[in-house]
Structure formats: C-alpha cells, structure tokens
Amino acid sequence: MATRSLYRSAAAKRLFVAAPRCARLYSSGSSGSSNSNAADKETHFGFQTVKESLKASKVAEVFSSVAASYDTMNDVMSFGIHRLWKDHFVRSLDPGRKPGGQPLKILDVAGGTGDIAFRMLDNAAKVHHDFETSVIVADINGDMLREGEKRALAAGYLPSDRISFKVEDAETLNTIPSNSVDLYTISFGIRNVTRIQEALKSAHRVLKPGGVFACMEFSKVSPAPLDAIYQQYSFSVIPLMGQLVAGDRDSYQYLVESIKRFPSQQEFAQMIRDAGFLTAGRGYDELTFGVASIWKGIKPLEVKK
C-alpha cells in the first residue's frame, strides 16, 4: 500500500514537475548570478560547471527530491548489490568494543538515511555485545536525516543515546570537536561534496590519532569491455529507471554524471594521503570490478610537523 502511494506520487511528480525541474537544475549560469560574487570559484555539478557556492544547494535539491525513494532506487539500480557492499564495508571495519578496548565514537558523514549507521550498531551489538558504541549521523540535508530518523524510530534504535542525527557540512564539521572520533565513515557521499580536499582535512581534524577514515564510493570499472557495458548501463538505463521508479530523471542523470566525474581509485587514494592519512598498500579495495571501491586511511599517532 505504502509503495503504491509512493509510486502514485512519483508518477504525478513525473507528469507535472519534470520539465520545470529540468530547467531549474540545468540553467545554472543565469539563476546563480544574482547571489554569487565574481571571485567565486567554479566547480562541477555532473557535467556542468557551476559556481562553488551553488553546488551545495543543487546537491541538496537532488537529495531532497530523492529522499523518500532513495532505498527503492538503490535496490533497483544496483540489483540489490549495494546491500552487499554496505555489509562488506561494515564487516571489514568490524566496529564495536573489543576485549580490553573502549566503546567507539563513530561519525557517519553523509549517512542521512542511516544505512551504514544501523549496520554498524548491529555489528557492535551482535558481534561484540557492545551497546555503548554510538554513532553520530551527519548530513547536510535535513530531508535525508528526517528519513533516517523515521527509520531509526521504526527499527528501535531511537529513542536511545546510541544514535543521533545532526545537520552538518562535511567540509567543516563545525560542531564536532577535534580529536574526538574513533571512526569516520562516508559512504556514497564524498562525491557530492564541493571541496573534497576540505572534507578530508575536516575528517583528519575530528579523528583521534590512530582513528580510521573509511570511505565507500563509486569508482572506475576495469577491464575496458566491462566498463563499456557499465557506461551504457549508467547513462541509458539509470536515468530511465529514475524516471519510471522515482519520477525524477534529472536527479539520476546527475548521479551518473557525478560518478563519471569522481577521481579514479589511485587519484583519490593520493588525495587521502595528501590530507595526512596513512594508507596500506595501494590504499583501496575494489568491489564488483571497481563499480565501487573502499578507501581506508589511518590518522598517524604522531602528526608530522
């Protein structure tokens, strides 16, 4: 019943809203000129170039419009594989209080709907019998956080002090004190951050020495024949599915374009090292031929001067 009404509202949206939204999303130059100064640097939004001050609001627009159908679309687009990736991500980190250790403070950035946060709490509780480890879910988008809060209440994580939701910009993380977090995770989020290097620096700031930075994001597929198939799929099928299932083609057009624009595995690993993290080996692990990758970094115990 719920899904049907969701579909109906999505279909209505598709009929009436698609054209104006298209105009709104893709005419960045004129609409942005009023409130941005001339010195404002430019960045990319999908394949477009927009003013840096505008990107955040555009991304916010995308995620506000997909918040409700976010999970359904993830399942449809990835054939459910995104659940395996997320499970693997959390299981490899294995968060929770270890014998002789302390409960952890976890910061899940861009974790609006709580996918990763719930999994981490489950891992702590079920594997380590640890009910003290806590997660702060930070997201720049209030709509996504409300979706996450709704789910946390439904699944019984709330009310408790194990999980809290905060509106927070990944680039600054203003209300998170320095050296306060054991584990920083960002899953399919860093792609949408305007200044990625700033976000990495903030991650470095809030982590305790010896803390772990873990990031899961779409990456480059190899070998080339598979990549060709993947590109076809992502540029022709995903926007279409976005239109049919979520009633929102443009947001999913942005999704595939932003995936294409994200740096390669090696480049992003280098950015992580540049932000001051230690990485092991090449610094990343590929999932499903590199459709997604997991990067991990460690904040060194002695910070280099």
């Binding site: 490899s92 090696q266 230690l278 092991a280 115990l301």
Partner: protein
Amino acid sequence: MRLNLLGQLLSHLSPRDSITSFTRHVIFAASSPTNVSTMPPRLRLPHFSAAPVRTFTSHQHPPAPAYTPLESTLLSTALQHVPAHGFTTTSLHLALRAHNYPTLTSSAFFPRGAFSLILFHLHQQRSTLKDRIVFPSSSASTSSSDKLRSLIKTRLQGNVETGVAERWGDALAVMSLAENIPESLRELARLADELVYLSGDTAVDTTWYAQRAGVAGVYAATELFMTTDKSSDYEATWEFLDRRVDDMEKLGSVTEGVGSYLAFTAAAAGNVLRSKNVKFF
C-alpha cells in the same frame, strides 16, 4: 626574395620542427587533465593510469620497498605472535596494541587480514634469502641442482627459524582460499624466479619456463610435505627434497632424450620419404 620564401617553406617543412611541435602538442594535451575532464564523455580519450609500470627487471635496480617502515614494524611484531596465535587476526591485533594503535585500524592497515601477514612472511623470507646463503666463489664445480637443493632447504629452514613452521599448514589453507590463490601463485613464481637466479642459472631460452615451473613444483611439494613431517629436525623433509631434486634432474634428462629421439626420428622419416621421391615440402 624567392630564396627567402624557400627558406621559410623549408623551415616549415623541416622534420625536426614538425616533430617538436607535434610532441609539444601531445605533451600539452596529456598534461592538462582539467581540459580532458570537462569534455563530454564521448569525446574523451581512454584514460590510462599514470602509475609507471616497469616492464623489465634488473639486479642493478633494486625494487622499491614493498612495505612502509611502519607496516614492516607492525607485521614483524605480529609475526612474533604467530608461534602462539597462528596466522590470525589475533596476532595482528596484538601487534597493533603493542604499538598503541587501536584494533579498529586492523582492516585499514591489513586489508587482507591474516593473508597480509602470510604475504609479509613470504616476502621477508624471499628477499633475505640472498643474504642468508652465499656460495663460495669457487663453486663452479657445484652443480646447479645441488645449489637449488641447498637454496630450497635454506628457504624452508627460514620457516623453522622464525617459529612459524608448526603453523604453516594453516597458512597454506588460507593461501588456498579462492580469493587468495592468484597472489599466492604469484608469490610462488617470484620465489621460483629468485631460487633459479640465485642458483646461477641465467638462461633466457625456452628452459626459462621449464626450470621455474620445475623449481616451483619441487618447492611447493616439499613445503606441503613439511607441514605433516613429525621427524626430528625435519629429517624426512630434507630426504624428500633430495628425492624431488633428483626427480627433476632425471625428468630434465628424459625430456632432453625424448626431444632428441623425436627430432632424429622426424629427420630420418623425412630422409626416407625423400629417397622414395615423395614431395612433402
């Protein structure tokens, strides 16, 4: 005037100039990734990774260290825990604690878990092998199979000296997991290459492959035998190794014999056909 024009034309056509301008153009195109990334996807050239890949090996250019100093320290400490805790994440966690890192960092430092520890041990043993065994310079008389025998023995004794020999069966089990097989085989190939090189065999003909395959086979068989060997000081293993090296020698001479027999027979058959005036090529 005309000469001047000709000169201009020549300078325009001069091959050197055209080449430099061409290369400059190419270099410019390659060194401006921002330009490339703003292009629509269909126009973009295939992206090649910038990491330099060395397609040659040379003993004059030692390879870059595979592990950072911190990784080496952590993994060496973890290896000291192997006799007690085996090749497990427990050993890794103990090493992290000893160096004040939280155990949460385990998956970030060692993405492949226990297998990372096994690979480190294999890498250590392989890279220090050349220092642990030195053949006297007058060893020209020593046959290469005798050298191989003592090389393999020294390599396997490395497992005994570090105390991991008792746990090596577990390590082989981890190495034989599907996800770890490619890297395990690669490491075996590297070891075989090292062993053959240290034995003084620098041949680059077709025996290159046969020799390495043979040595890898002997090493792997002996290693496997060693995991079940209960004799004192692994006497049975060394006897097993002697027999395998002898086998390899015999096999080598048999293949050689079979090869020359087949070549002779083919040539003789050809001659018979020729004598019968059959045109066969």
